[in-house]
């Protein structure tokens, strides 16, 4: 069965520290992977897609098929990065839905 695991409920770091939000997935085929972010009182929005290999707001994520991971990284955290982050898995098949992890709250303090 497809599954997404985000092992940390809460990650607290100081401003300027590196950040890594972990995401592991379970899927035997070729996955689509996404990171979504929800800032306080805002709607959930797409942060990154693995297929586009972009860097958004300083965040990057690399798909590691061997380790079935898609960790989100940022070298220097900012206070405005404080938010809830969800990793999501899509299977490339019509008529299917994204599977979300349980989310990690990132708290960046000064």
């Amino acid at each position: 069965a497809q599954r997404v695991t985000q092992p940390e409920k809460l990650l607290s770091v100081f401003k300027g520290a590196p950040v890594e939000l972990k995401c592991n997935y379970s899927y035997s085929g070729s996955p689509e992977l996404f990171w979504y972010v929800q800032y306080s009182r805002q709607r959930l929005q797409l942060l990154l897609r693995h297929i586009s290999r972009e860097s958004i707001k300083g965040f990057t994520a690399d798909l590691n098929k061997g380790e079935t991971s898609f960790h989100l990284k940022k070298p220097f955290a900012q206070e405005e990065d404080s938010a809830m982050y969800y990793c999501a898995l899509g299977v490339n098949q019509a008529g299917t839905a994204l599977i979300f992890g349980k989310g990690t709250t990132l708290s960046v303090s000064s």
Binding site: R43, L46, R49, A97, I99, K102
Partner: protein, 112 residues
């Protein structure tokens, strides 16, 4: 610039009431989804639709139904609201291909 609109931001309903949550998208997307979001549980899929009048059960469909009569509108129906359906409900849409979802702002439903 709002592309997915949920009709209510906050709703308070009584136990046993029939509740309608409405979602409209203006991006001509084929796929629409309803999730509920609860602390510590993440987003759980209730129902989704990949075409007009088509629907598929998600992981937690019990106590819910959906309606998609037009491409742009996807309604979630709580047949008889119960207190354990108190939650944040998120609607999303997705076009074809490898795009991600566009989410609505959510409806926080409280059942008393």
């Amino acid at each position: 610039d709002v592309k997915v609109t949920q009709s209510s931001r906050y709703l308070v309903k009584r136990t046993g009431e029939k509740v309608f949550l409405e979602c409209v998208q203006d991006m001509d997307h084929e796929n629409m989804f309803w999730y509920r979001q609860d602390p510590g549980l993440g987003l759980r899929l209730i129902y989704f639709s990949y075409d007009v009048k088509m629907k598929e059960k998600g992981d937690i469909p019990e106590g819910y139904s959906v309606s998609r009569e037009k491409k742009e509108r996807f309604s979630l129906i709580l047949e008889s609201a119960s207190t354990n359906q108190t939650s944040m409900y998120l609607c999303a849409s997705r076009g074809s291909g490898t795009q991600g979802y566009t989410f609505g702002s959510g409806t926080r439903l409280t059942v008393v």
